[in-house]
Structure formats: structure tokens, C-alpha cells
């Protein structure tokens, strides 16, 4: 894989759409999926958060890769503040993609837990909506629920991404610079389907409770600077 934006210790990923939704989930369901050193952040007592993020990467945005879609499923966990204060820290539970080369790279370089079937992602930028699925069925539908979306230009965010591979925990710094909007309005944000992508985490309610959404402005190129993971 050739990566034109590669530097010593991080890669620049350019994206032209991103949609993140935080969903509430009972803590006792998510805790068993985490390594013992990591703990979920609770929105309120007994209620933790999972995060679903969909990206659209245009052709050529990362090396020679064609346009592809990515889906990341993570749990929000206590960060390591000795590295700085992130917006949030996530423990990545599953990453899927419509591009095999991207998946291979995610596994090798980022130590990410890849979901091995190729996904098909439908991005509806005009509706701020996405649909993901694979040969086994639907994974999710997700869409913005805010009445009014006001993007803020050149927003900067710092995140931490924990992963584990072969019983070793890794941590990576992730920086995003993009035109973004964040909100916490209450409304219908779509469906999460019971699917192996979600690590057999059953979603009992058809209408999961959303907590927060972040939207990257469609068509505006944002940058994700993803550092090489370090042993934690």
C-alpha cells in the first residue's frame, strides 16, 4: 500500500463526510467487552456510551486507494490524561470497511479489530444519513436528528483510541481538523441491527437512545491525523 501522506509517526486521512452518533448502553453489557484496565465512561449511573462513526474517504485521499466507506464501533472509556485531555477516548471494538486494502492496513498498522467481511456503505450526504450492511444483512442506519445544523469551520479535536491485540493494549492519538457540528438534540437517529459486527451485543430496543452526534460537513475536506499506536 502506498501512502503519500505518510510521515514518521502518523498518517493523514482526508475525508469528505463523517457522521458520529453516541448511543447509550447499560454498563453491564459493555464492560465485559473491555480489557480489565479500561473502564467505560458513564453518562449517568449504570449507563455507558458506545460510538458509531461513519466516514467517507474520497478517491486519492489516502494513497492510491479508491473512494471507500468506513464504519467504526467503539466504547467510550476513561482516557489517559497524561497524554493530554481528549474530547473522548474510545476502545475500538470493531472496524469495517468497503475496501480490503484499508482493512489490511487497519489490522497491521493500527492494530485495529477488523470485521473481516467487506461492508457496503451508502452515504447520503444531502440527507446527512448513512446505511451500512454486508452479505449477512443490515448493520445500521444512522442519520442526523438536529433541526438546524450549523457547521463551525476549522474545528480541532483531539481523541485517544485504545485497541488490543494479542493481549497487549495500545493507545493512539488522533487529531481531527474539519468543519463540524455537534449537538445533543433528542430525536430519531436510525437503527442498530443485531449483527456480528456488533460483537454479539444485542440491541433489545428497536429505537436505541442517542446521546450526542457530530457531523463533518459533507463535501468539505476534513483531516484525520492518526498516530501510530504505542504500547499502553
Amino acid at each position: 500500500m502506498s501512502l503519500q501522506n505518510k510521515t514518521d509517526d502518523f498518517l493523514v486521512w482526508q475525508f469528505d463526510f463523517a457522521l458520529t452518533t453516541f448511543f447509550e448502553i447499560e454498563t453491564h453489557l459493555i464492560q465485559p467487552l473491555l480489557p480489565p484496565q479500561l473502564h467505560p465512561i458513564e453518562a449517568v449511573a449504570g449507563v455507558s456510551l458506545i460510538n458509531l462513526t461513519a466516514f467517507n474517504f474520497p478517491a486519492g485521499a489516502l494513497g492510491s486507494l479508491p473512494e471507500f466507506q468506513e464504519l467504526i464501533f467503539s466504547a467510550i472509556v476513561t482516557p489517559d490524561l497524561s497524554r493530554g485531555v481528549p474530547k473522548f477516548a474510545m476502545y475500538v471494538l470493531s472496524i469495517g470497511s468497503s475496501c480490503q486494502e484499508h482493512l489490511d492496513h487497519s489490522f497491521d498498522y493500527y492494530k485495529l479489530p477488523v470485521y473481516e467481511r467487506l461492508l457496503h456503505g451508502i452515504i447520503r450526504k444531502d440527507k446527512l444519513a448513512v446505511e451500512y450492511g454486508d452479505s449477512l444483512g443490515k448493520i445500521l442506519t444512522m442519520h442526523n436528528c438536529a433541526n438546524q445544523v450549523i457547521y463551525k469551520k476549522d474545528e480541532k479535536r483531539y481523541f485517544q483510541a485504545f485497541t488490543s491485540k494479542n493481549n497487549q493494549i495500545y493507545i493512539a492519538d488522533v487529531y481531527i481538523q474539519a468543519s463540524l457540528y455537534e449537538h445533543q438534540e433528542i430525536g430519531n437517529v436510525g437503527m442498530l441491527y443485531n449483527h456480528p459486527f456488533f460483537k454479539n451485543l444485542g440491541f433489545d430496543e428497536a429505537d436505541p437512545v442517542s446521546y450526542l452526534q457530530m457531523i463533518g460537513e459533507p463535501g468539505a475536506i476534513g483531516q484525520q491525523l492518526y498516530y501510530r499506536p504505542e504500547i499502553f
Partner: protein, 429 residues
């Protein structure tokens, strides 16, 4: 990316909300280091308007001193002293008299040697204020401790506690301590409460629904009648925290439960003495048998010292005043004052759903919190700000606590400062 660029992502103090420092993974004390770094940065930028020292009683106008030494005379819209009783001369005299007789502290647990006849008088005064037969009152030395103790003594492992999503932290902490199953319903939404209760109906456990009279973040009245009806339909019990509504709402000041006509249907009413009473402490008002039990099993009560006698003496006087024409006049005035300030703000800024003496001014972006708080203080306003995650993202707000003691001129000045800030910070409508 060089280290300077990385710092740009990380070090701007306006980017942080306090929850971001609450915990860190790892054995070092990084959350303490980072929090202090943030605090130092704000102080060094001369924007630190928090932890101010108040130099006199919580009157409508107060002198304060910042931690950095600057002194200001401010209009006070930050205090819960809704009826001005904290500095009422009769209340102070009663407190002094109690101090002379009983000394400084109770020096013991209320269940052992810390209860004075004065505490019993206070209990009876509260029961008389409600005017219902068969009820009792259990006095705690803090409002937080009241909810903590009541919830955790009534709810046990396997039981359910169902909280309004905006319920006070003391109710949530009581729920955690109880080890019961915790569920939430959408803020002030009886239909969603019904949905949540249906989910657990078949197990037939003990269920306690917790809500508030007036909500402190939005200043809205609880839909208590509908919430109580849903609760009773599911054979559950209901606790109402009237911290921001007792002595204020209802024809006689008995709270939103009186206002909504459900005083006899509500199972537990929690009062706080640090707001409209102008003192400190809290109380459970409920059927006498339940109160007897809580007295012996609420750990925050039995393992805390009893309420200070001087405070108890002052609180008895407050109840006497609040039952008289003084209380009636003050209730009338606080409603007039709140309506007046709302009328000055409405249409110019977003005041949400407030219908009470708590008036939010929603400025949205949490990153404005530090500079806005500093600006308001420097322009003459002592006022409280609430930000994510205490309120939703992009719904950060200033909260004005109106009192019966504010004069029209002070309400005008406060409105002017708030509208000026709204223009300066871009949240004027």
C-alpha cells in the same frame, strides 16, 4: 505534526468542560495535573471568575473577591436565597437565641445524643406547615444527605429506582448507594415514564420514581400530577424533591405537590433548607412510619452530626414567617419579579421553558463559558453558568435565580447586562 501544533489542539482552556478531568486511566495522577494546569491557564489569562469569596450575606447586591484578589460589587442573581430569609433580622435573632442556649454544634448523631428539643420543634413546625395527619419529618444536616439517605434506605438490591433524567446528583448518588436497579425516564415526560415502568411491571419489585418540583436547569415545573398518576398506575412509590419549590410554589408555599393537587398522593417529599429557607440542611416529609424507619436506617443521617442548633432555631422562625402574611407577600413578589425579568429577556435571548424563579439564558456553545462568566462578573453580575454535560451539548446556559428581594431597578440592570453579553457573545436573538 510538531509539538506546537499538537498543543493547539489540546491547551485552549475554553475547549474543556469539567467532566474531561474527572478520571484518567493509569496509575499517575494525570487528572489532577491536567485540572490544575487548566485552572492555572484560566487564572493566568485573568478570566478566572469561579470560587469567588463572598464578603457579606447573600443580599441582592453583594461584595465579592476573586481568588486573584480583585474586588467587585455585584448584583446577586446566583444565590438560592429566594425569599431573603438568610439575612432576615427575625431569623438571625432566633438563630442567635438558639446559639446562646444550645451552643455551636449538636456534637452527636441525631439517633444517639445529637437531637435537641429544638430539632423536634422544627419537625413539628414542618408537619404543621403541611397540615396533614399521620405524617412525620426527618431532619438531616444537608439536602444532599437527605436524598442520599432516604433513597438508599428505602431501595435495596433487586428493587428499582426510576429517575427523571434531569434529577439532582444527590438522587443519583442515593440510587448508586442503594445498589438497586437504576432506570431513567426522559425529562418531565410522563409518557416515557409509563414506557419505562411497563418494562419492569411483570417482575413486581419495589419501585421508587424520583422527580423534582421545579427543575433547577430549566426552571420548569414538574408535570407532577401526570407523573404521580402514572406512578400509581404501576403500583410504584414517588419521591419529589421540592428543593427549588418549597415555600415558593402552591397557594400556601407547600410546593409543586400542593400546586398540582397531589400532596396526599406523593409518598415522599424532600425539602432543602439551603434555598428558600436561607439556611442549611434537609428533611424528609412522609408518613410517620416511613419517617421512623428512615431515622434509624438512613446512613447519611445516623453517621452525620445533627443539624446545628442555631440553624434549627433560624429555620423554625422561617417557617413561622413563611406561614404568615410575610410569606404570602414574598411569594407574590418573587413571581412578579420573575415574570418581570422574563418579560425583559423574552424575545431577545433564549430563555427555554422557564415558568419559575429560575430563568435560564441559553447561550449554547460551552466554549463560551469561561470568557462569558468572566465578562458577566466584570460587568457587575454574580450569576451561575451551567455547561455540558450538566446540560446537553450546545445548550449551555446562564441561570438567573430571581428572589423576592430584588428591586425593579436591579432586575432592569441585570437584564441590561445579560442583553449586552448576548450581543457581545453572539447569542442575542
Amino acid at each position: 505534526m510538531d509539538s506546537k501544533s499538537r498543543e493547539e489542539f489540546k491547551t485552549n482552556y475554553t475547549e474543556y468542560t469539567l467532566d474531561m478531568f474527572s478520571k484518567s486511566t493509569g496509575k499517575d495522577e494525570a487528572e489532577i495535573v491536567q485540572f490544575n494546569k487548566w485552572r492555572r491557564n484560566v487564572i493566568n489569562a485573568h478570566k478566572y471568575s469561579f470560587e469567588v469569596l463572598h464578603l457579606e450575606a447573600q443580599k441582592p447586591s453583594v461584595s465579592i473577591r476573586r481568588v486573584t484578589g480583585e474586588k467587585y460589587k455585584l448584583l446577586n442573581f446566583a444565590s438560592y436565597n429566594y425569599l431573603g430569609y438568610s439575612y432576615h433580622p427575625d431569623v438571625i435573632a432566633a438563630a442567635k437565641q438558639a446559639l446562646d442556649i444550645y451552643g455551636l454544634g449538636a456534637t452527636g448523631s441525631p439517633i444517639l445524643n445529637g437531637t435537641f428539643d429544638l430539632h423536634t420543634k422544627l419537625e413539628h413546625a414542618i408537619i404543621d406547615f403541611f397540615g396533614q395527619d399521620g405524617y412525620g419529618a426527618s431532619i438531616f444536616s444537608s439536602g444532599y444527605g437527605t436524598n442520599l439517605g432516604v433513597v438508599s434506605s428505602y431501595i435495596h438490591k433487586g428493587d428499582y429506582i426510576v429517575l427523571d433524567r434531569s434529577a439532582h446528583a444527590s438522587l443519583m448518588d442515593g440510587a448508586i448507594l442503594s445498589q438497586g436497579n437504576i432506570l431513567f425516564f426522559r425529562h418531565n415526560d410522563p409518557e416515557h415514564l409509563d414506557h419505562v415502568l411497563k418494562r419492569i411491571k411483570d417482575e413486581k419489585p419495589r419501585i421508587l420514581v424520583c422527580t423534582e418540583g421545579v427543575y433547577s436547569a430549566d426552571g420548569d415545573y414538574s408535570k407532577l400530577k401526570a407523573i404521580t398518576e402514572v406512578t400509581k398506575k404501576h403500583d410504584a412509590k414517588i419521591l419529589v424533591d421540592e428543593a427549588h419549590s418549597f415555600l415558593l410554589a402552591g397557594a400556601h408555599g407547600r410546593g409543586v405537590a400542593e400546586d398540582e393537587g397531589v400532596l396526599s398522593d406523593v409518598d415522599m417529599i424532600v425539602l432543602t433548607f439551603s434555598k428558600s429557607f436561607g439556611g442549611v440542611g434537609g428533611c424528609l416529609y412522609a408518613k410517620q412510619e416511613l419517617v421512623n424507619y428512615v431515622n434509624y436506617y438512613a446512613r447519611s443521617r445516623i453517621f452525620s452530626c445533627a443539624l446545628d442548633p442555631a440553624v434549627a432555631g433560624g429555620l423554625i422562625k422561617v417557617l413561622e414567617l413563611a406561614s404568615s402574611s410575610d410569606g404570602y407577600e414574598k411569594r407574590k413578589r418573587i413571581i412578579q419579579n420573575a415574570n418581570y425579568l422574563r418579560s425583559k429577556l423574552q424575545g431577545n435571548v433564549n430563555i427555554g421553558t422557564s415558568t419559575s424563579w429560575v430563568i435560564p439564558v441559553i447561550y449554547g456553545d460551552e466554549r463560551l463559558t469561561v470568557p462569558l462568566s468572566d465578562y458577566l462578573q466584570k460587568h457587575g453580575l454574580d450569576i451561575s453558568l451551567m455547561t455540558f454535560p450538566a446540560v446537553p451539548k450546545n445548550r449551555s446556559r446562564i441561570r438567573a435565580f430571581v428572589t423576592s428581594e430584588h428591586k425593579q431597578e436591579q432586575l432592569d440592570q441585570a437584564a441590561d447586562i445579560l442583553l449586552l453579553a448576548a450581543k457581545e457573545f453572539g447569542f442575542h436573538l
